[in-house]
Every structure is written in C-alpha cells, then in structure tokens.
Point group: C2
Chain length 283, copies 2
C-alpha cells in the first residue's frame, strides 16, 4: 500500500501480537508459561535495547552451549546453575519461609540413587583417600524438636581430590563417599567420612568463558549433600557447608544459605566433628 | 548452625545476590545485559512458579535445539524468529515511528550478498519455473517524494516450489531469483520475476514441535525481500507481502507489517504487477 496511513508496528504492539498468537495453545499451563516467557524475553531486549550484533552473540553463545552438551556434559544446566536459575527453581518449589524445616538447596549433578545402606557409625570411605577424617553426626527432628526414629539420611560428597566417585569411575569405587544411613531410636545418625573440599564446575566451555567475562570464578564452597526422608514428612534435599571453606560468599551456583553453614569442631580426642540437625516438616 | 536465627533465603533475595555478583563484570555493557537478563529470567520463573519438571523440560528443549543445530541448520535462530525476538530486535534497531521511511522487516536466513547486477527490466528468473510471471516496479524516493537516482535495489525471493536457490543448490542456479537493480533517472526500478509463494520454516525439530504444541503453524506469508540503499540515506531491509497470500495474519516469524502488504494487480495486457515505492530516510 502506497500511503503511510497504516499504524506502524511498535515493540509493545509486536509483543502483544506474539502473546495473542499463543492464545491458541491447547494446554492452559503451557500457554501461561509461553506468554510469560515471551513477555520477559521481549522486555529484556527492549530494556537493554539489544543490538543486532548482541543478538547474534547470544545466538552464537547458545549454539556453542549446544555443541559442548552431550550425554555426560550438560552445559545448559551449568548455565542455569551459574545464573542462579536452578537455585531459584529449588527455592520456589521446596522452600517455605513460614516453615521451621531445614532450608533446602539444589540436588546438583552428582546424585546417584540407591546408595548402599550403611550401619550407624559406618564409614562411607571406600578408597584410600588423603582426606581429613571427619565424623558427621546429628539428629533428624520434627518442627517441635521430637526425634524422628528410622528416618533415612542419604549422604554424598566429593573426595579430597575434589571429585565425586561418579566423575572418576576408573579411580574411585562407584559407592565411595556415599551411603544411606538410618536414624536410631533417639533420631540420631552417625557417619564416618572425610572433610569435603571446594571444587570447580567444568569451566572449559562457554559457561566458563561467561564466568570469566563477568569477573566470576568457577568454584563451589565445600559441602556434603543430604537427602533426608521419613514417613509422614516432606522429603528434604540440602547441603551442609564447611564454615572454614573458601567461596562461601561466592559459590558459583548460588547454593549457599546461611543456615546451612556449619563450623566443624575438634573434640578432646582430636576427632573433627560436623554436627547438624535436620528438621522435617509434616507432609 | 543449629538455630533458625538466620534469615531464610527468598526468591527476591536470591535474584539480588546474582545481580550483585555480576557487579564485577568489567564491561559496563555486558554487565547491563547480564543483570537485565537475570532479572527477567528470574521474574519469569517466579511469575509462573516454574516447577522442577518444567525446568527440566526447558533444559531438554534447549538441549534438543542444540543437537539439531549445525553449520546449515540454525534452530536457535528459528526459535528466536518464532518467539518474535528477531522481529523485535529488528524493530528496536531499524524502525523509527517518527520517520516517514518504509518500514523495515527481518533479513531472514536466505540472503546471499553479491547478487548479480541486473539491468532495468531484466528478469531474475534463471530456471524454468512454473511460477506466475510478475513485474515488480516502483520508485525509490526521499521522505518528501523526490526520486533517488542510482539507488541499489537488491531483491531475492523463493521459487514457485517454495524454495530459495540457496536451499536447492542441486536444482536451482545459485543466482536464481535474486539480483541487484539500480534506479534509473526517474528513481524507478523494474524487475521481471515470478509470484512468490508461502513456505514453511523447517518444522521437523524442537521448534516445529513447539509451534504445534502452541496451536501454531510453520508458514510464512508470500513475500519478496529487498535491501534498498543509496548514498546519503539509511539502508533499508524489508519485504513486500502479496495481499492475496495466506498467513498474512499469522506469519510464523512475525515479519508482516500492514504497510508492507501490496495488492498485486493485472494490467490490461494481462501482466501481473506488484507496484511499491521505497522511502529512504536521510543518514
């Protein structure tokens, strides 16, 4: 049409057009997700006035992230982790400010189900390790402090080398430094292990480059992972962090929460002890 | 720490922590982009209360998008196109509601630089095509209607099969249906071609699945692409759409603008004509 009598397209009109187009989505939940995604994606581009070159750089970044991702390397999850999205989704789904339960934190990529069942006080060290011996002990309790008998405490952590068993199948036994413990008649658990150490996330891909370009490092603060469950209670996935660790203020995947930092103490016999109680909410 | 005396992490506190962490970004522009991206990404997850399963579905979608992307197939650009992001970035950078210039639209993936220079009125059909012959004509003019002599009109379009030459290197000559024309002493251009037809974007990957899941189709409305340039004027990248085409209201990459839709007319001799003037803004 030869005149300029039509209204010109504007950024906000375009966003509305895309949202309107998505109205045809059969699933109401997918419709809600896609319309919100488009709104925020467009708002981002408008807010920063994204240039053609920057858009292309974004496409290139995603393409490289796709290229390095395979059945063992998941760079998109690393990206989500380092942008704080994984921790945010964990918070949205598993945290409740009103609750007295132990704060949750992310599962992480190294969880292996069906760890060996271990006795009260048994060691989960199956491999000669230069790690510092430690006793991990505590109780699983209700919000009112009552012990929970027969609760399962599924623990896993890295070796002094920085690696989890699942990362070193040719070096560590598959069940090294992981185990499922059961609380005793007083709701107590007792685990012999070694002190966990900080470790870097894989930083040789586009996410590592992005971390460096944004003045960040690739390290996680030292921690032991736990999944705690008991019949009639909400399952808990969390970490205990070592208060003496580096990177507590800059854990690269935003997993640290103040209430999960524990000061490890040395008892009169010289034994290093990490003591922490887990509080579960009723289902 | 055994008590609950610390403040619990909340979604908004987590977002603030990520934003604060990005303060160390050396480049002010990258800092601005990343902080805005994180804000909008987190706001999206909070707005829809994204579940663990939905987050994993998103990771899976991006992984598949990465898997299918290679040197010829760019699924991330298709994703950007079908979410309206490519058109939005084009609008942000190349449109000006105040300007009287022809509205721009996206470049698209099929532009090939250095098309053959063609004479006034020359055909750009190099391949026996069952397409309907058409004359594309018009002027390149200033905002006040003065003809621009010697402007370059770089045109490209698909064949009646739906494919661009670059998509069918074994069938169509490489320079079929593209050419660089120059306006004459009256600012006019004249191109012999065939009527463009609607065509689908590649829909056998994750983006095609997303289109179907959101009740959409994969078709673009019929159009001819143009890059118009002249010394002293801002270059223009746009399309002319055929008013008789399907999908004008649902072009899958959101490229259609009202002012770019042209009714093709048949002259007394039976010749189909697409007439459109391009208005350029001064640099």
């Amino acid at each position: 049409m030869s005149g300029n009598h039509e209204e010109k397209m504007t950024p906000s009109a375009l966003t509305q057009e895309v949202i309107m187009r998505l109205e045809a989505t059969p699933s109401p939940r997918l419709r809600e997700i896609m319309q919100s995604l488009v709104t925020h994606l467009h708002d981002f581009a408008i807010d920063v006035q994204l240039t053609d070159q920057e858009w292309m750089e974004g496409i290139r970044f995603l393409t490289e992230t796709g290229n390095i991702t395979d059945s063992v390397r998941q760079e998109f999850i690393l990206l989500s982790d380092t942008l704080g999205l994984s921790s945010l989704v964990d918070l949205i789904n598993h945290s409740d400010v009103e609750s007295l339960a132990t704060e949750p934190t992310i599962l992480g990529p190294f969880y292996v189900p069906e760890s060996p069942r271990r006795e009260f006080g048994e060691s989960m060290v199956e491999y000669e390790d230069r790690g510092e011996p430690i006793l991990i002990k505590g109780k699983v309790i209700t919000e009112t402090g009552e012990p929970i008998v027969g609760a399962e405490v599924d623990a896993w952590q890295n070796a002094a080398t920085g690696f989890y068993a699942v990362q070193q199948p040719d070096v560590q036994p598959a069940t090294n430094l992981r185990g499922r413990y059961t609380t005793n008649g007083h709701g107590e658990f007792l685990i012999q292990s070694v002190r966990p150490v900080p470790y870097p996330i894989p930083a040789d891909g586009p996410v590592g480059t992005l971390l460096r370009d944004t003045g960040r490092h690739e390290w996680r603060a030292a921690h032991v992972h736990f999944k705690v469950s008991a019949s009639g209670f909400k399952p808990l996935t969390t970490h205990i962090f070592d208060a003496a660790s580096d990177y507590l203020d800059s854990d690269t995947v935003f997993g640290v929460k103040e209430s999960l930092i524990e000061t490890f103490v040395t008892d009169p016999s010289g034994q290093l002890i990490c003591q922490h109680d887990f509080v579960l909410s009723p289902e």
